[in-house]
Structures are given as structure tokens and as C-alpha cells.
């Protein structure tokens, strides 16, 4: 049984442990500090935490003893911006800074690449470390790709890479989810990239641009660990899945009670089994009818169940962000958190939920303890 969950919040990092059959808060770190991203590295048990200081910028810390002590690591930094070079955000017209505005995703490389870490940022730069976070380099092949310059912000003012999925069969294959910029893939360890968004469509664009792969606002992209050609995405205006390695995407239109949301999780063994946490729609980012529910499909999206046992069903306005739903590596336990500071776990694939706390700071990231793939 998985025994530990890490929770990054707007005001600190919390360790949740399973003790005497219940999940409880065991430890807090970085209290008061915005903690948007965590990475429990399944290869060596290290825990990485990205902090976003309002004054001092983004920082990265690592613990090698389950959060008891921490060391500050190097933080990704953009190279010097060329003199006179200005690139503007297509929607706002403002200059894109060559500066880490936020660390928005952090993933371990393949077990065969033990020092490799990937880091996605706002305003859209992907960084790679080959030495476990001691140093970072901007992945220029993607940053310099002229198609990258068509990305624009979704949610945030600037575009960002929020999802990084490493193929368990081959660490040279990495998929990215970008708001707003579609799904990207490298098959050569980052030397070259291509966009993989066929089948996605955008309700927020004029008809001639709806299927433009470069503007698709995928909110989250996840890959099934044991069926890595199967992916799910919670998109801005719907849920989509792919069964051919992101070559094509099919819409899954029957998500109940709504197709809008941010988070999606897929079972590590069975790609047909997936969960989302719906909200009404983009203009009303609250649960339908004030009831917190989880949507689950067992048949690849043909049908959905609405799971509500143990979740608040009256005047509940919890919103779940894109990194705040996770499933344990063994597929046994789910957890999700909300903007209202509620955290729930389920040990029966979502049939019933236990509330761990209703009083945490706004929850940004929920991740189960890592385990070697």
C-alpha cells in the first residue's frame, strides 16, 4: 500500500501519511511559501519542491530524507536575451520575458537516465538537467522553434508547459502539454519536436482556427504507464483521449456532469480507466450545483459515472487545479485537492472518499510518493 502523499499549496508543502487506516497530515514545510510544484523522484526517493516567492522569484529545493531537511538547488534560468530582440505575446501584445515566471511542471527522466530532470515553465521554456538539478539548460530546440512563438497564455497571462510525460519504454520520447500550445513530442531526447494535436478542437477560436494545433488549450496531459500509447487530456472545452501515441485524438463528449475541468488521471495499468474533476465551464469555475464530484470512466470514455460518496454536496465551491489530482503508482489510491483547501483520498478507485482536511491553504499540486516504474 502506498503510504505517503505530498501536497503543494499556496502556503507550504504538506506530507500526508497513512496511519492506522487513515490519511493524516504528518508534516509541514515551507509554511507561508507558495509551492506550485513537487516532484517525488521514483528513481532515488528525492523530493523536489518548486517555490514561487512573490518577491524573490522561483526557487528549487530538494530533500533526500522525506522532507526532514532541505537543500536549495540551482533554479532554471533563461539565457541572456539577445540585444534588441523582442517577441510579443500574440494575445496581449506584451513582450515575452526571458525569465522564469513560474515553475509549472517538473518530472524525472527515464530510469535509464538517472540524472535527468525536465522542468516546464511559464513563459513557455522547457529546461533539462542532467545532474539531478545541480544545473539546468533551456531546451533551445523547442524555445527557438518558430511555432513556439504562436503559443499564448491560458489561465496565466503567458504560455506555459504544465505537463511532461516520459515514455517508460524509451526515455528519448517525451510528451509535453502546453497552455496554450497543444501537445508536443520529441522522439530524439529533445533534439527535435513536433506538435501532436490532430483531433483537438478549440471552441474559443474562430472557425478557421478551431483545429489549429498550436493554439489548443490542453489543461493537463497524462500518459498510461503500462500502455504508453494511450493518453488523456482535459482540454479547455472537452476531454480527449489518444490510443495511438498522440498521433490523433478523439473527443470524449459524455463526461458527467460537465466536460470542463483542469485535472485528469489515468490508471497506470488500464488506459480505459480515467478520472476528471468537473466544473461548470470556463466562465463559471465552480462545481456543478455546488456539489464536488469526480467523473470516472472504465470503458475509455464511452460512459461515465459520477462519484460523490464522501464529497461535499451542498454549497461547495472547491475547484481542482490541473496538478491537484493524482493516482498512486500501483493504481490503488487516488487523491485530489481544491482551491478551498480540501483534500480527499479514495482507496476504492473513487467509489468513496475520505476527507483529510478542509483547512489547508489552496492546493496546487498533489503527488503520491514515487516508486520505481
Amino acid at each position: 500500500m502506498t503510504t505517503r502523499i505530498w501536497v503543494g499549496t499556496h502556503k507550504g508543502v504538506f506530507t500526508i501519511e497513512r496511519r492506522s487506516g487513515r490519511w493524516t497530515i504528518a508534516q509541514a514545510a515551507f509554511l507561508g511559501d507558495d509551492s506550485p510544484m513537487l516532484l517525488p523522484d521514483p528513481r532515488d526517493g528525492s523530493l523536489y519542491v518548486a517555490l514561487h516567492h512573490g518577491h524573490f522569484g522561483s526557487k528549487l529545493h530538494r530533500s533526500r530524507d522525506q522532507g526532514r531537511s532541505w537543500e536549495e538547488m540551482a533554479v532554471p534560468t533563461y539565457p541572456p536575451k539577445p540585444e534588441g530582440y523582442d517577441e510579443t505575446n500574440p494575445t496581449s501584445g506584451k513582450v515575452i520575458p526571458w525569465r522564469v515566471e513560474k515553475i509549472w511542471s517538473l518530472e524525472a527522466g527515464h530510469p535509464g537516465q538517472p540524472g535527468v530532470l525536465w522542468c516546464g515553465t511559464i513563459p513557455g521554456g522547457l529546461f533539462r538537467s542532467d545532474d539531478g538539478g545541480a544545473s539546468w539548460n533551456l531546451v533551445r530546440s523547442l524555445w527557438d522553434d518558430p511555432r513556439r512563438k504562436q503559443w499564448f497564455g491560458g489561465g496565466a497571462d503567458l504560455p506555459g508547459i504544465h505537463s511532461i510525460a516520459v515514455d517508460p519504454r524509451d526515455g528519448r520520447r517525451v510528451l509535453l502539454g502546453v497552455s496554450c500550445g497543444g501537445v508536443w513530442e520529441t522522439r530524439d531526447d529533445g533534439a527535435s519536436w513536433d506538435v501532436r494535436a490532430n483531433g483537438l478542437w478549440a471552441a474559443y477560436m474562430p472557425p478557421d482556427r478551431r483545429e489549429d494545433p498550436l493554439i489548443q488549450d490542453v489543461h493537463r496531459v497524462v500518459l498510461c504507464r503500462e500502455q504508453p500509447d494511450c493518453l488523456w487530456t482535459q482540454h479547455h472545452n472537452g476531454v480527449f483521449r489518444s490510443t495511438d501515441g498522440a498521433v490523433s485524438w478523439q473527443e470524449v463528449p459524455h463526461v458527467q456532469p460537465s466536460v470542463f475541468g483542469f485535472a485528469v488521471a489515468v490508471h497506470p495499468h488500464d488506459a480505459r480507466l480515467a478520472w476528471t474533476v468537473p466544473a461548470i465551464k470556463d466562465e463559471k469555475r465552480i462545481p456543478v450545483a455546488g456539489q464536488v464530484v469526480v467523473a470516472r470512466t472504465r470503458d475509455g470514455g464511452k460512459s461515465f459515472e459520477v462519484l460523490r460518496n464522501g464529497l461535499p454536496q451542498e454549497h461547495a465551491y472547491d475547484l481542482t487545479y490541473r496538478h491537484a489530482l493524482d493516482i498512486a503508482a500501483n493504481g490503488e489510491v487516488l487523491a485530489f485537492g481544491s482551491t478551498t483547501g480540501s483534500l480527499w483520498t479514495s482507496e476504492d478507485q473513487g467509489d468513496s472518499w475520505q476527507c483529510v482536511s478542509e483547512h489547508l491553504p489552496p492546493i496546487l499540486c498533489v503527488r503520491f510518493e514515487g516508486r520505481a516504474a
Binding site: H10, G57, K59, Y78, R322, P362
Partner: protein, 96 residues
């Protein structure tokens, strides 16, 4: 030589005490401090060398004008204060 002071809140993250350094501009004075305390650089400046959005610097009680080049002059008797702007206190937090 000018004397430079840092917000107490920075001390929570790293050791960066008040010190006296050489320098005729804010940039030169800061560079001298960062030579002694390298980790402080990315807390005060971004990777392009600009003052971070929610930081402010005062020279002899006057807020500096050049947040990009940090060319504001500093007298040899100058007192430089590197402070937090109140605008950054809540961090950026917007709905996704």
C-alpha cells in the same frame, strides 16, 4: 564607500548582511555584494540582471529610477536599501 542593506526577509533564505562595498552605481555596488554572496543575486535580480518586479531599491531614501540597467549613481557616503515592494506580498495567484 557606500553601505548596502537588505530586507530582513531575505535573511530567512540566505546569509546577506549589511556591508560596505565599492561602487559608483547601484549595479556596481550590487555586483560587489554578489561577489561575496553569490546566491543573493537571483533573489534580488532576475536572470536578465533586472531588478525583480516586486523588489525596490532606495539610494539615500530615494527610490531608484533605472530598474533595468541599475545605473542610478551612488555617492561614496551613500546608503542603499534593497527592500521588498508591498505589491509582491501575496505572490501571483490567479485561477488556472
Amino acid at each position: 564607500m557606500p553601505r548596502i542593506h537588505f530586507t530582513q526577509n531575505l535573511q530567512r533564505h540566505l546569509h546577506c548582511p549589511s556591508c560596505t562595498v565599492a561602487g559608483q552605481t547601484v549595479r556596481e555596488a550590487l555586483d560587489a555584494v554578489f561577489a561575496l554572496h553569490p546566491r543573493a543575486r537571483l533573489y534580488v535580480l532576475d536572470e536578465q540582471g533586472e531588478l525583480r518586479k516586486h523588489m525596490v531599491i532606495f539610494v539615500d531614501a530615494v527610490q531608484i529610477r533605472d530598474r533595468v540597467g541599475l545605473t542610478d549613481p551612488v555617492a561614496s557616503s551613500g546608503e542603499v536599501y534593497v527592500m521588498q515592494a508591498l505589491s509582491g506580498g501575496a505572490s501571483d495567484h490567479q485561477d488556472e
